[in-house]
Amino acid sequence: MSASDELQLIGGGKTPRVDHVLIAEMVEAGARVLDVGCGDGELLQLLAERKGVDGRGVELERDKVNACVAHGLAVVQGDADHDLDNYPDQAFDYAILSLTIQATRQPKTVLENLLRIGRRVIVSFPNFGHWQVRTGLLFGGRMPVTDNLPDLWYLTPNAHLCTIRDFADLCERAHAEVEQAVAFNAYGTRLPIKWSLSMQNLFGEKAVFLLRSSARPAPGR
């Protein structure tokens, strides 16, 4: 698939988000997927169309849930902090948390729950170590407002922002083995994989991690 194909219009004629495209690449065809914080169901739709997954979603906002279900997606109203406890161990091939972990109350508990529920876990998050964030704080002396973090500090739902380095540390603490980690710059271009973690952390605006629990035997691919 060429890069232009990657950005081909999907379904409703919307260009899929770069992190969604990457996630769709990571997921195996026909897998069972739980998308926590699925929003309006864009990723679930993409995964259904491209990979024929059996997808489920969890979303906090009622209007978005209703819209998802009205479009035929299997989505329940709930949130990552409270409603993941009910899911059985290893119920899904992939548990996905897309740009949501920074808005949870207990990111570590949420991550542990995801590692329990999914044989593999995919987490994407905005990188607070990005150079624009650093320079904004250093020179402006204020909480940074960027394209990636558009809300003022008192309006943002984000409660636990982290850098790529921070997240890598959390993975270690939560006994998560990183199978793949990809960072994107502000233009949605993937940063070269050979770049050091420091460079990724400085130039990556968003990151996507593919994880599995190191406490469990490796799932077959």
């Binding site: 009622r62 849930v65 009205a70 035929g72 299997a74 059985p88 119920a91 899904f92």
Partner: protein
Amino acid sequence: MTVVTPDLKASTSRRHSEVYKPSSPVVHFDAGAPLRLACQQDLAPFSIAYETYGELNAAKSNAILICHALTADQYAASQHPITGKPGWWENIIGPGKPIDTDRFYVICSNVLGGCMGSTGPASINPKTGEPYGLDFPVITIGDMVEGQARLMDHLGIDQLFAVIGGSMGGMQVLEWASRFKDRVFAAVPIATAAWHSSQNIAFDEVGRQAVMADPEWAGGNYYAAGKVPRNGLAVARMAAHITYLSEEALHRKFGRTLQDRSSLTFSFSADFQVESYLRHQGSTFVDRFDANSYLYITRALDYFDLRESSDGVLANAFRGTSTRFCVVSFTSDWLYPTRESRRIVQALNAVAANVSFVEIETDKGHDAFLLEEPMFFATVRGFLNAAAVKRGLAARDGTAG
């Protein structure tokens, strides 16, 4: 309380004829095919009266069973033979509607214990040749569902494409999904609960006591005397009706507005519009419903607890299910509040079932499931469309199986 009905006799006899000879189709299961009830008695013979809408496809894969609530009946999308009113769910069932009769074959049957043609306490007890009255066995939601399953056997439908219902209908949906996992492709339990709460049992008991306190009830043997416990049943309906609404809805509809008068009368006549409205609800209900049926069906509601057959763990009721669920609740429903639906969703999640859950914002209370709520309708339509695709049902002209 005075209930004025000029055509009491006429309405009573119309009601009686619907018990014995319903206007809808009816299947009679003879003495050789008894229904084993939860109380361990056999019910035989028994009848199930039902209505259908749309066409069954060749593969018999497009059937939807609609389960009705406490006081409704099989006339979901057709004119009621007693009241002459349109079907109770005609806004959602029909050609091009969310439950689209151009695509689906819709079946709605009167529950066991009912009084519109399915066997109930007003039906003739073959042992005595008289109406059963209180000799009718106490039935459960599970028994109702077993009766419906017999109807499906009779119609040659192995698997229902969907089972849909609100309130008590939702309990039947859950019971279907739990008892007959292979026979339910999709399930839509609406404004319901996996067990009846203590508050709901309490309300039901008030209703039953009102009926039984009416001297005309005569220990349940009012049929022979040609009597009807009108006042008792009307009070039961009035009390129950309040639980179907919400404080906001009542306030919006009536406030403290007076009924056809400019000042208080300092009496106990219906000064307030809300009183007049409830009295009307009570008296029209009596014209179409049997008092003993009310006792039996409310009892079935009270007895409902899906955990009981599942070692006390609700999730066990759904273990191994491959049914697709769409659970719906309404924000202002205090009879079956959202937390009851959440319990169902949590149990379904615990067995990794395919479940959607939507809470619809409305101030119309429990009755919202009977009303035209755009988001609710969009949810049902979207869910059924997606399920139909999974089931291999073609679009609107379809006959594919």
